[in-house]
């Protein structure tokens, strides 16, 4: 039970974060070195841990906050999945961000909080108990706020205010749920689920609803998603990593943890909470897609698309069929890769061609072929075109729904696929088939921006095509389901 | 004798009501001084001479002078001072508190308290007067803190001085005619007062008296000298005054720390207890005299015609 590795992973982003706070604005070289170095080291450590876990090693670290309040870091297959996703994407986004910002102001602060965010995300992934999860969950909220308001203009300050207005009550709901549960069952560890017999069903349902509400804010479930579109006022790297991967996935990851490791799937079904959660997820999926269609700006459309896509994961957790769970977990990675590609491309369009609105994208395919290809790959993947990644997760979700006898889920999946097409295809049509407006400009001369987008686009393609192999997220997800949650 | 006590109590209450609710600020202060004197009579009836001395010297005397000085400085003529309207809700609350307290006071049958224990230990404290024994040895820690409270009051007045710094002499400028009655009185009384003050200090070991009472008399003498123009008012500029101000608690604390060497914090070895206590009391009296003089004179007001 070596202790060093998990702590090393945490420190690999904590130390660069704290160090870069003290760096002067001018020392770009040092700061970039710190961030990139941190990202590379983290990726290396995660890969090392992957190999070790494959050979059956286990990691557990306990830092006592108060006698009952342990900060427990425990590695299991689920945490590895989420950690490897965030490690890979953090490296790519750091490269992207360095190119994106160049020498703009307040970068020490930006990269400081940027690395702090990732540290919180990895901590959250490794959390072994409810309270440790909550500690990192809140650190994520606090470290994201400065990033959302990074431009410090009125629009981003308003976005920041909205973000906290949603996030803090959410954290209160989550804390109440945790303390309410723990006051009866004692500290809750993910390793051995608490015996819920002591808690009467009514308050158990209340606790579950509070959990979903608290986590739902970050997972952008419909009534609680208000902050996400506004947060698009943040610079592109922030919306790319945070609102496509870190923050939003943290919410979904939390729901998966709560459903599987705290309540256990059987209890959730017995309490009759599975279906309402699935309905909530479905409503979010449809509502997100509908709203996405009405958006004029690229980033807000992608934001609403994120709102709907994340609920696939929650849908996977809510439906009792094993395949649905595999589909949901796989989608955690698939959606991450595809969405980050789209956000990267949106950032490139904005940065290089000043194109923020969708109708400004006419004829971009000709002028910025590589970016447009990546965008198309990502978009098609999201729609769920075979053999892309989106298709794989939707198929598994469908099969899972059939297994669980929830046939109406199939209709939801089909409808959402159509809606995805409805808001992505017009963009592709503009990119490739409409003539460029006369004043349009745009070039792809900065490779550091384009390369990350290409890598993630290819990854999302590969993940779909080689889904069958055990190394792919799908294979990994089925491993998780088989080992941890045989329902 | 019970009739005298009842009469005294009624008088005290009456004068107190007049002081608090009566018409006119100057009248209130005068009533307050009378109240102080009557109260010390009560302490004499309760066989507490030390307290009677302290009450009349500090309670009625110094506080009275303090308030009279303040009324003078506020320079508001008494005529238009309306009697304060009765604030009924507070009056009701106060009467509830009164009822509770009187009820408790009646219910409690006075016991011997700690009197036997003190008597048993008295010989080991180095002084015969039990009150001084408690003040200077048994609860010496309280007395040290109390002297620090006095110092705090003086330092508290420091920023209120005109320029925010108390470098000029304390209090308003005094103009007594050189040959006049006051300056004569100011030369005649202080030596006697000095004698009485030192006597009180010395007698404190066995009879009623002690550092505080002695210090107060000396302070009164000091204030008189300043008013009579015999001596320039003390001020923070002169290091001598500052050291005198600090001497009492400093010596006390020094003995406290020295005590660590042979027993414990603030412990006096029984052989030298009397000597130690007397040294401390002398330093304390000096400090108290200076502090009380400064407090009564108040922060310096440059250029205010007296």
């Amino acid at each position: 039970m070596s202790v060093a590795l998990p702590i090393a992973i945490l420190l690999s982003s904590l130390i660069p974060a704290l160090a870069s706070f003290f760096l002067a604005q001018e020392s770009h070289m040092w700061r970039n070195l710190l961030s990139l170095g941190g990202a590379v080291i983290k990726l290396g450590l995660v890969v090392a841990m992957l190999l070790a876990v494959a050979q059956g090693a286990a990691y557990e670290v306990q830092l006592n906050l108060a006698p009952g309040l342990h900060l427990l870091l425990r590695i299991d297959a689920l945490s590895l999945l989420f950690m490897s996703l965030s490690a890979v994407l953090w490296l790519l986004t750091t490269i992207y961000a360095i190119a994106y910002f160049g020498t703009k102001a307040e970068l020490s602060r930006f990269f400081g909080f940027f690395s702090l965010c990732v540290a919180a995300t990895t901590g959250l992934a490794m959390a072994g108990s409810l309270i440790s999860f909550f500690v990192f969950f809140e650190m994520l909220t606090l470290s994201t706020w400065p990033l959302v308001v990074h431009k410090q203009d009125d629009r981003s300050l308003a976005a920041g205010r909205r973000y906290l207005a949603y996030a803090l009550p959410g954290s209160v709901a989550l804390l109440v749920a945790i303390v309410w549960l723990e006051s009866v069952t004692g500290p809750v560890l993910f390793t051995d689920p608490p015996d819920l017999s002591a808690v009467d069903p009514v308050s158990l349902r209340g606790i579950f609803v509070l959990f979903v509400a608290g986590l739902g804010v970050k997972a952008a479930l419909v009534p609680l998603h208000g902050w996400l579109p506004g947060a698009m006022a943040a610079p592109a790297p922030v919306s790319a990593l945070l609102h496509a991967v870190a923050v939003v996935k943290a919410g979904a990851f939390g729901v998966v943890r709560v459903v599987y490791d705290v309540f256990g799937l059987i209890t959730v079904q017995d309490l009759g909470l599975g279906t309402p959660l699935a309905v909530a997820a479905s409503v979010t999926i449809l509502w997100g897609s509908l709203r996405a269609m009405q958006q004029e700006e690229i980033k807000t459309r992608l934001a609403y698309s994120t709102v709907s896509q994340v609920s696939y994961i929650i849908l996977g957790a809510a439906v009792a069929g094993p395949f649905a769970t595999i589909g949901g977990l796989a989608h955690l990675v698939h959606q991450g890769l595809m969405k980050i590609t789209l956000f990267f491309c949106a950032g490139i369009y904005d940065e290089r061609a000043g194109a923020k609105r969708i109708d400004a994208l006419n004829g971009m395919g000709a002028r910025m072929p590589v970016t447009s290809i990546c965008f198309s790959l990502g978009a098609l993947g999201m729609i769920g075109l075979p053999p892309m990644a989106g298709f794989v997760s939707k198929v598994y979700l469908g099969i899972g729904a059939l297994q669980a006898g929830e046939n109406w889920v199939l209709a939801v999946l089909a409808a959402s696929t159509l809606l995805n097409a409805a808001y992505f295809l017009p963009i592709l049509y503009r990119l490739w088939f409409l003539p460029a407006a006369d004043i349009a400009r745009g070039d792809e001369r900065s490779p550091m921006l384009v390369i990350p987008a290409v890598i993630t686009a290819l990854a999302s393609l590969a993940v779909g095509v080689f889904a069958a192999s055990p190394l792919s997220p799908l294979g990994w997800a089925s491993l998780i389901v088989a080992r941890e949650y045989a329902p | 004798m019970a009739v005298f006590d009842l009469l005294l109590c009624a008088l005290i209450l009456l004068v107190a009501v007049a002081a608090i609710v009566g018409k006119g600020l100057f009248r209130a202060v005068v009533f307050f001084v009378i109240y102080g004197v009557l109260l010390s009579l009560a302490w004499v009836r309760l066989d507490a001479p030390d307290v009677a001395l302290a009450e009349v010297a500090i309670g009625a005397g110094l506080t009275g002078v303090l308030l009279l000085g303040a009324v003078g400085r506020l320079a508001r003529s008494d005529a238009d001072e309306p009697a304060e309207p009765i604030d009924w809700p507070v009056a009701v609350a106060a009467s509830v508190v009164a009822a509770l307290l009187v009820g408790a006071a009646i219910k409690i049958t006075p016991g011997t308290g700690l009197e036997p224990e003190v008597r048993a230990v008295l010989t080991r404290t180095g002084v015969e007067n039990p009150v001084t024994a408690i003040l200077m040895n048994l609860r010496a820690w309280d007395t040290l803190l109390e002297s620090m409270v006095l110092i705090t009051a003086v330092i508290g007045l420091w920023p209120l001085a005109q320029g925010g710094d108390w470098m000029e002499p304390a209090g308003p400028a005094h103009h007594a005619q050189p040959g006049g009655v006051l300056s004569g009185f100011g030369r005649l009384l202080p030596p006697v007062a000095l004698l009485v003050g030192v006597y009180l200090l010395w007698a404190g070991a066995s009879q009623p008296g002690g550092a505080f009472q002695g210090g107060t008399v000396l302070a009164a003498a000091g204030v008189l000298c300043v008013m009579a123009g015999v001596v320039r008012a003390p001020g923070m500029a002169a290091p001598a005054w500052r050291l005198a101000l600090v001497a009492g608690p400093a010596v006390f604390a020094a003995f406290g720390v020295a005590g660590l060497a042979w027993g414990g914090f603030l412990t006096f070895p029984e052989a030298w207890a009397k000597g130690a206590i007397l040294t401390i009391e002398m330093a304390l009296t000096l400090s108290i005299a200076v502090v009380l003089a400064l407090l009564v004179l108040g922060p310096p007001q440059a250029g205010e015609a007296r």
Partner: protein, 479 residues
């Protein structure tokens, strides 16, 4: 034992030295701070190893003499006092408007606090309270003519509180013939103790500025110079709270009636609501932070109803009791950091009005970070000490079924987020105002204090274990 005596005597010698040698005031204060730090370290080790350290001044011991005892709680508060006072001294050294009286008063406040923390004698606590009150009022008065009226109101409230407390002590002594808390705990309750304890509690509530007796605190703490208000807000109300805890947990645990606990719970809740709502409506930073103190003191009152609510499932004892102390310590550090930040911003931008602070985050990043960290602590979000406190108290609330008090804690946290967000947003505005530069060393002082509050959160296990030395039985069993 030597360390404890040094800690008690050092600030007294410091104050006397400052009066004797006003020229060297700042140096004397710094020296006292450093030496006290050393003595404190020795004391912490001694108490951690060997349990509470006792001193019997004059060697007499209770009931005749005064018993002083430094248990976990007292040493923790003394540690927080050293940290906050050292920081205030560091900032005051560079604030131009600070005169000699300020230094002496800081020393006096410090010595009064140490006296109160370790005292076990009811009258000794009264003398300590008076020394603290006069020094604190004088500290407020150093804020210039605008501070005179608030200082006077503070003085009258505080004097009323002290005399009510003293009236209670008089009745207790008359009935029991003893002033020492340990002896009082063994003596059977008398008929008149109800009145006495009611008076003492009322007096202490006035001095702790618990709602509805809080009117004096915000104007006084806002009018005082920033280093002074850091001491006032972080430390002074805590002293009378410590006495209240000693009284109810050590001296007369079984005298606590249901009605008393209910009253304190209601007053606490009202304080949290009242302080929070009023803080939302202020437009000067120091006013906001002062009203925040009124709200945060409300939390402390919840310890009385919550004590003993641990329940079987919790693997720790006296959760609410330790949580309340955690809160008092974390709030002290965070509140002092906030007032020192206000001091730095006043130095830089000239005033603490919110619209004068716009954009200062860019100009003075470290101070903005310090204010942020302190705000997180006050909101009770992890990883700060404030979170550990809130978590411990909430678990006790849920376990003992007093869910309403948990709601109060949470609502208070959200209110804190509300009134602390406005200054944060003003700081993050884009316009960079013209401001006088402030040295990074000076900015590091509040940051250090705020990070100490975080450290308390991260290493709360060690702090928790330390607090258990000399913990009263009633803390676990409940009132």
């Amino acid at each position: 034992m030597i360390a404890l005596a040094t800690l008690l005597i050092l600030p007294i010698f410091g104050a006397l030295a400052v009066v004797a040698v006003p020229g060297q005031a700042a140096r004397v204060a710094a020296a006292v701070a450093v030496l006290s730090g050393g003595a404190l370290a020795v004391l912490i080790m001694a108490v951690a190893k060997g349990g509470s350290v006792q001193i019997l001044p004059g060697g007499w011991g209770a009931p005749l003499g005064i018993a002083l005892e430094a248990d976990g709680l007292a040493v923790a508060f003394m540690a927080m006092t050293v940290a906050v006072t050292a920081a205030a001294i560091a900032l005051a050294a560079r604030t131009p408007a600070i005169g000699t009286p300020f230094w002496a008063l800081v020393m006096l406040t410090w010595s009064a606090l140490n006296v109160i923390y370790v005292s076990r004698d009811l009258f000794n606590m009264y003398v300590g309270l008076e020394l603290l009150t006069l020094a604190a009022v004088a500290l407020v008065a150093t804020g210039g003519t605008s501070a005179l009226a608030p200082a006077l109101r503070y003085l009258f409230f505080a004097l009323t509180g002290s005399l009510l407390y003293l009236a209670g002590v008089a009745l207790i002594y008359a009935a029991h013939g003893v002033l020492d808390m340990a002896h009082l705990a063994e003596a059977p309750l008398q008929a008149t103790d109800g009145v006495a304890l009611a008076l003492m509690t009322a007096g202490l509530l006035v001095k702790t500025a618990v709602f509805p007796f809080h009117a004096w605190l915000p104007p006084a703490h806002a009018a005082a110079p920033p280093p002074a208000s850091a001491l006032l807000s972080a430390l002074v109300p805590k002293a009378s709270f410590v006495i209240l805890m000693r009284l109810w947990f050590d001296a007369v645990p079984d005298a606590a009636t249901r009605s008393l606990l209910l009253t304190l719970a209601i007053l606490g809740a009202l304080a949290v609501a009242h302080g929070g709502v009023l803080a939302l409506r202020q437009d000067r930073l120091k006013q906001i932070v002062a009203y925040s103190t009124v709200a945060q003191i409300g939390y402390l009152m919840l310890v009385f109803p919550l004590a003993g609510g641990g329940g079987a499932a919790q693997p720790w004892a006296a959760g609410a009791w330790s949580g309340a102390i955690f809160h008092a310590l974390a709030h002290g550090l965070a509140k002092a950091a906030m007032f020192l930040c206000a001091g730095i911003w006043i130095m830089a931008a000239g005033s603490d009005r919110l619209d004068d602070l716009r954009g200062l985050a860019r100009a003075l990043p470290m101070t903005a970070m310090a204010f942020g960290v302190a705000a997180v602590t006050l909101m009770g979000l992890p990883p700060s000490g404030g979170f550990t406190a809130k978590y411990l108290m909430m678990t006790s609330a849920f376990a003992s079924g007093q869910v309403v008090l948990a709601i109060v804690l949470l609502a208070g946290g959200l209110l804190a987020a509300g009134y602390l967000y406005r200054p944060m947003e003003a700081l993050f505005a884009r316009v960079v105002p013209d401001h006088r530069p402030v040295s990074r060393l000076l900015q590091a002082v509040p940051l250090l204090l705020a990070l100490l509050a975080f450290a308390m959160g991260l290493f709360s296990d060690a702090v928790y274990a330390f607090l258990q030395t000399g913990r009263p039985g009633a803390a676990e069993g409940g009132l």
